[in-house]
């Protein structure tokens, strides 16, 4: 490769841009020059030093290259030491100017047309480099774990406190976590979401509730075929505990123990587990139902001494919880505000002085339930289709009143474990 002045200058600019992007804010975006954001060390050596040495070597190679053509090491040394000082003294932008200055120094009679072309080339290389390197650096500097401390603790608890053969049933997402960390079998996971389950006809009870809905199984000779997805979705969506129980029995195997996990992430996935549970082959579709999480937007004192907690749903729409005290008793009323009109919501679940209360309102026009967080900072609106679902009862009500699901433990309000109690 023939080395030209322009080549050297371009390579210099490119290299400078890479160094710039490696640790500094983007000048093209007009951001302020920040501190070198690489405080992490390797052993006892700060990363910034390693980085500096790394690129100093690269620059040295480059300037050795310059020397061949021009015998003018001065330009190289000027840039090299200015870079060193700039990084150490945190005057990052100076390096770009010095790099250009050095170019003009050693090229005593600059050809401006070529310089313009070089700058255009620089622009072409610099922009994609900004987009690529800068974003990558941000991603690498802040690795986000999907596995949370609550999950980690829960899975290790399961590993240490349950029978080795115990199946842990839940939706597919945490399947690999359960098999990898807790080392317990699962019904399905991220690699087998669409897998079917096959049972010998003689080994199952065709009179159980698990076989009442014909869309949930097919019989091929001596084999009963079921969808693991539809089965697990149904254990979350159904309001019939016996149906959920009968389905889970199919996957228990010979183990005396079986567990069920209800986790926070399944709130957002309700649209899918409700969809798969209600999916019908002749329609090739199902119904999606959502939990609606809302944050407190405003707390307003009323003229009658009551307090209104406003949870905005969007423009001119909100769920308002009216709280007032009468005769030493707290009365809470949930309403849906739509513009100027207010309509009552049929159920409210809330906490007062550490106790849980369920309030029902006769003649309410909006069906569904409001589940108010003890801090009154957030709530969930639960549509009537999900109100009595197994997931609601397990996750929001810790399995209260259920016969076959015994609450075992709760990790950070994120992961709740239940033991399936067999007859």
């Amino acid at each position: 490769m023939k080395i030209t002045d322009e080549g050297v200058a371009s390579a210099l600019l490119w290299l400078v841009s890479v160094i710039y992007l490696a640790g500094f804010t983007v000048p093209i975006a007009g951001l302020k020059i920040s501190q070198f954001p690489l405080p992490v060390t390797i052993g006892a050596i700060p990363f910034r030093w390693l980085f500096l040495v790394f690129y100093s070597i690269a620059l040295f190679f480059l300037f050795s290259w310059v020397e061949i053509k021009n015998k003018n090491i001065l330009a190289g040394l000027v840039v090299f030491f200015s870079l060193l000082l700039s990084v150490l003294l945190d005057y990052k932008l100076v390096i770009v100017l010095l790099a250009l200055g050095a170019y003009f120094h050693y090229k005593k009679k600059p050809q401006w047309d070529k310089i313009l072309v070089i700058l255009i080339l620089f622009f072409f290389i610099y922009i994609p480099t900004v987009a690529s390197f800068d974003q990558s650096y941000v991603i690498a500097a802040n690795p986000r774990a999907i596995l949370t401390p609550s999950w980690w603790t829960a899975l290790n608890w399961i590993k240490n406190n349950t029978e080795e053969c115990a199946v842990v049933a839940t939706y597919w997402d945490p399947g690999h976590f359960i098999t990898g960390i807790a080392r317990r079998p699962v019904v399905y996971d991220g690699g087998t979401q669409n897998a079917l389950a096959q049972f010998n006809k003689s080994s199952v009870d065709l009179n159980s509730k698990a076989f009442q809905d014909p869309t949930m199984f097919t019989i091929e000779g001596n084999t009963v075929v079921r969808s693991r997805m539809k089965d697990m979705a149904t254990t979350l969506f159904t309001d019939d505990e016996e149906l959920a129980y009968d389905i889970l029995k199919l996957y228990r195997g010979n183990c005396s123990e079986m567990y069920y996990l209800a986790s926070w992430d399944l709130i957002g996935k309700s649209q899918w587990w409700s969809y798969f549970s209600t999916w019908e082959p002749n329609k090739a579709t199902g119904n999606k139902y959502f939990y609606i999480p809302l944050q407190l937007s405003m707390k307003k004192e009323g003229e009658d001494g009551s307090t209104n907690y406003v949870f905005s749903l969007g423009q001119n729409q909100a769920i308002v919880i009216n709280e007032k005290t009468a005769g030493g008793q707290t009365i809470m009323t949930p309403v849906l505000k739509q513009g100027p009109s207010f309509t009552k919501i049929s159920k409210l679940f809330y906490f007062e002085n550490g106790k849980a209360f369920m309030q029902q309102y006769q003649g309410a026009e909006v069906e569904g339930m409001v589940w108010l967080d003890p801090s009154k900072q957030s709530l969930f609106f639960i549509p009537k289709e999900l109100e009595n679902s197994m997931f609601t009862r397990l996750f929001f009500f810790q399995g209260q009143g259920l016969k076959h699901f015994e609450f075992v433990n709760n990790w950070g309000g994120e992961v709740k474990l239940f033991k399936v109690k067999f007859d």
């Binding site: 080395i3 030209t4 290259w65 070089i118 255009i120 072409f124 399947g175 098999t179 990898g180």
Partner: protein
Amino acid sequence: MVKKKIKKLKQLLGFIKDEKLKEQVEEEAGLEKEEGIKVEEKYHPEKDEIEIDITGARHFSHVLSNFVQKHWAKLALLLIILLAFYIRIFAFNYPYLINIDSYYFYRYMDFIVEDGGIPNIDPYMLAPEGLNTGSIARFYMYLGAYSYMFFARLFPGLQLWRYLIYFPAAIAALCAIPIYFIGKYLFDKKAGIIAAFFLVFNPFNMTRTLGGDPDSDGIVLLMTLIPVALFLATQKNIEKQGLGKRSVLLAALTGLALALFTHTWGGSWYMVWLFAGFVAVKLIAEFLILGDTRKAWKQNKKIISSFLIIILIYILLIVPFFGVNKLVGIINAPTGALGMKAEASRRFPNVWVSIAEMMSPEGATFFDKINTIATRATGMPLGGIATIVHPFFLAIYAMIYFIVSYIKKKKHLDSLILMFLWFVGPLYASTVAVRFVILLSTPLIVLSSIALAKLFDIVMGKDLLD
């Protein structure tokens, strides 16, 4: 030896008529000291010129300069690999692996480390009967497990999960090597280096190849690139030397790499289609250009033969493990992949409709969808002045360059066909489901790197269409 060279130099100086130049050369060569001098000369018969390269060994920087000149691409590649590795691990600060699928691979690697292999039935998956592991792709698991066992000997006490912080970062950093060769074979070293840089620092790839996340994305990327690099090496070698021993060896290695890819990832079928498509399109294109089937056949006989070697090796390494059905699966795969989300005519629901990565790209219009794809693939949205330097458009410039270069100078037909197929196929698939963007990002990077390298050449005064 030195004396002999000095004698030769003195002889050569006789050719230099310009006295000032002669003095300069003598001074630079340090002839008065007659030691530590290295003289290299090269005669250019076409110009009737002798090029003299004199480097005084006492000038360390001269030696270094020569070294850098000679090995700049390797050095740049090494720097890129080291930085790519380091950037992926320096901020890792968790007491466990970070991603869901990481634990799938971790568990299988653990099986291999602890029990010497993968059990026929995985007792943890698909309760209660367990999963038959016969059809799972296991090359990555063995690679991870055996490399761990190697490093565990060097660093006693190294735990598998800790090793898996570094392993995916190393795999991702190594991707720089095959993509460098792809860029080099398709255009030049500069394109290779730029492609290596863009690939390892591509935000989309970065997200999926961070330290502590030994999911298969990194190895899939690496195993995608190696067969392409070897395939191009085969074609280049055939161009230069015909179908000799070296070409046959390279073709066999391509088949081996392709088979290993299938032993790594179920979606590897598209690479078989890419190579088959390249050969078929090249044959058709040359038939249309030459207007003579026999001539087109004759011209491509060696390429077709090399392709047959690749496929033969591939079949030999696939069928014994997965059976003939695997080959049938590869043939049917394109229709199957695009129909993955279908719900009609099914007995049970299709989970793929709920997977975020299987969704169609967001956007009301076709161009909005393209914007979503381009943004995901590069981390850079289309729009504004920067659009003209967006890698997506750079890729299009490169394609235009290939087309014009072929029309005007009959060059780059192979590059045009291969890159067109490699780019357009995944682009179409990405409009169906965003997960296929991972297949698109690599050709996009290769093409945009070629565009930048070409631009560099134009700035340096090279021919526009060379």
